[in-house]
Amino acid sequence: MANDTWRYMRRNPELIVGLCLLGVLLLFVAIGHAIVDLDKARPLSGRPLLPPSPSLPFGSDKQGRNLLAVMVIGTPQTLEIGVLAGLIGVTVGTMLALTSAFYRGTADAIIRGVVDVGLTIPGLMVLITLAMNVKGGLSIPQMTLVVAALAWLFPARVIRAQVLSARERSYIDIARLSGMPTPMIIIKEVLPNLMPFIVASLVGSVSAAVLASVGLEVLGLGSFDSLTIGMTLYWVIYYAAIINSWWWWWIPPIVIIIILFTGLFMIAVGLDEISNPRLRRRA
């Protein structure tokens, strides 16, 4: 079994590369927590705008934060928003998709209608409307909830289509004929077969949620004392760090975001290969 897994993994290098990239990020956070004094992420904890040096590997920003400490705290926070919002989105989306595809009728009509309309409206605009009604910028839990508010739409549509095709298969007929109640069919027969799709849409949702939260923060809707990657980028733009040659300020958040998105993208491509054998490269 382990041997088979290994052989498969070698055929699917994207998945490996993606997992390694995410692993690098987690390693950075773990090592950072062990060696960096996280109190130094507070404003005015050091001299402002110092370029990197042995004692200050990432330098400091205009408000005197130690940027290494900021990145060590901010990376998991940004990930947390993405992962939680993505999980909420996919869970709700899957439940709605199953209800919609299995019971059809009015429930299906309503869910499909809401999803169709919801996906036509640019998501970021709705999120901005939600966010501007929260006083004093979005804290991390608030950001998670706001982003999750729309994160279920896309999974609901994609998974519903998969459930619709799954329920026509003969093993479902057999389960039905042998008297299995519908909820049991869904849990024991349909869900396990849909797992690759659900995991794939989870990766997509996490990536979309991170993008949305970073977007809201760059627009200035995040909480000003939060240290997420998005807020760091907000300050980078606010103080025009790029044209002031403060390169050490903007390179780390950009590199972290690029690693994160490329990693998620690679994993998505790798998972796609598992769930869509048709795309499998001909050896």
Partner: protein, 334 residues
């Protein structure tokens, strides 16, 4: 085209407009205290030159949306205002009307977005189709990996990198803005050239970051059409390879790409809004950023609504064009 299909699409468009304005109306009122009213008060308390105007604005706001009126009456007033694109005055630039400022910014965004989306879609689609051809040039295969990687990166991050490399280090392109300071935007060849020069970097960041999406989509569709009978038939008729490729394979694979375009518009706009912020491009994205910084509620509501309208119109147009291109759609009862 069948009338009921058209009616359904137009109905969907109107439904979206109604939903957007309803959310705009009810969300601020959910918390009990109206944050719009609170912001108006705070703005007036700050004083300054526009204070007299602010007081009038509050009086006007209270008489229309104050607690003396029942909620449904306020709601109807709001819907009526929105239908006339009356989003009140700007809180930070009183006495300019919100809609006047939006009309000034919208052409910038629509042009930038229209041109870049069209270019990215065309380049990506052709590239994706070429990639499935066994005799495709080899350099294309090498191009695929970097293009796909770029597509994973948010538009605005690519923009930041482009500003640094091509703008700040190499000084090939301006760092920010839509035209040189001291120029007034006008339909004069020299000024238009200047505006195009300023738009190259923002456009490049949108195009480079979105080509991959279209390439990947087209490649998938082309692979799945490869075994189709009509291609086999075209080939066995002895048609030239190029004819089969352009007239038979691509034309049929284009339809799903068009559907994808309608679906992706919302994401493209969200991305472009942030690109504008990075480049301080004078479109609605920058306007949104400034009004969020100034807590200008009326302006934010107006911009959000107009962006939703713009995307709604674009989707509606695509929906109406689609059955003209794919005759199967108009007869299918759904």
């Amino acid at each position: 085209m069948r009338a009921d299909y058209l009616a359904k699409r137009v109905g969907l468009f109107l439904l979206i407009l109604w939903l957007a304005s309803t959310i705009n109306f009810f969300l601020p009122r959910l918390g009990g205290q109206d944050p719009v009213r609170a912001q108006l008060g705070a703005q007036a308390a700050m004083g300054g030159g526009s204070q007299v105007g602010m007081k009038e604005m509050i009086a006007e706001y209270d008489s229309r949306f104050g607690l003396t009126k029942p909620l449904w009456e306020q709601y109807l007033t709001y819907l009526n205002d929105t239908a006339h694109l009356n989003f009140n005055f700007s809180m930070s630039a009183y006495p300019t009307k919100v809609i006047d400022i939006i009309w000034r910014s919208l052409p910038w965004t629509l042009t930038l977005l229209g041109v870049t989306t069209l270019m990215a879609w065309t380049i990506g689609t052709v590239l994706g189709a070429l990639l499935t051809q066994p005799n495709a040039p080899r350099f294309l295969k090498f191009l695929l990996a970097p293009i796909l990687t770029l597509s994973a990166i948010p538009f605005f991050l690519l923009g930041l990198l482009l500003i640094y490399l091509l703008g700040f280090q190499l000084r090939w392109f301006p760092l920010a803005g839509g035209y040189d300071q001291g120029l007034l935007p006008a339909l004069d060849p020299k000024i238009i050239a200047n505006m195009i020069y300023h738009s190259i970097l923002p456009a490049l960041s949108i195009i480079l970051a979105s080509i991959g999406f279209w390439t990947l989509g087209m490649r998938g569709v082309m692979i799945s059409t490869q075994g189709e009978d009509y291609l086999l038939f075209a080939e066995s008729k002895g048609l030239r390879g190029a004819t089969v490729f352009w007239r038979y394979a691509i034309r049929n694979a284009l339809l799903p790409q068009l559907t994808a375009l309608a679906l992706a518009l919302g994401n493209v706009v969200s991305g472009a809004v942030l690109v504008e912020v990075i480049f301080q491009y004078p479109g609605v994205g920058s306007l949104l950023y400034q009004s969020i910084r100034a807590s200008d509620f009326f302006m934010i509501q107006g911009v959000v609504f107009m962006i939703i309208v713009a995307i709604g119109v674009a989707t509606l147009v695509l929906d109406i064009v689609y059955p003209l291109l794919d005759p199967r759609i108009s007869y299918a009862r759904r």
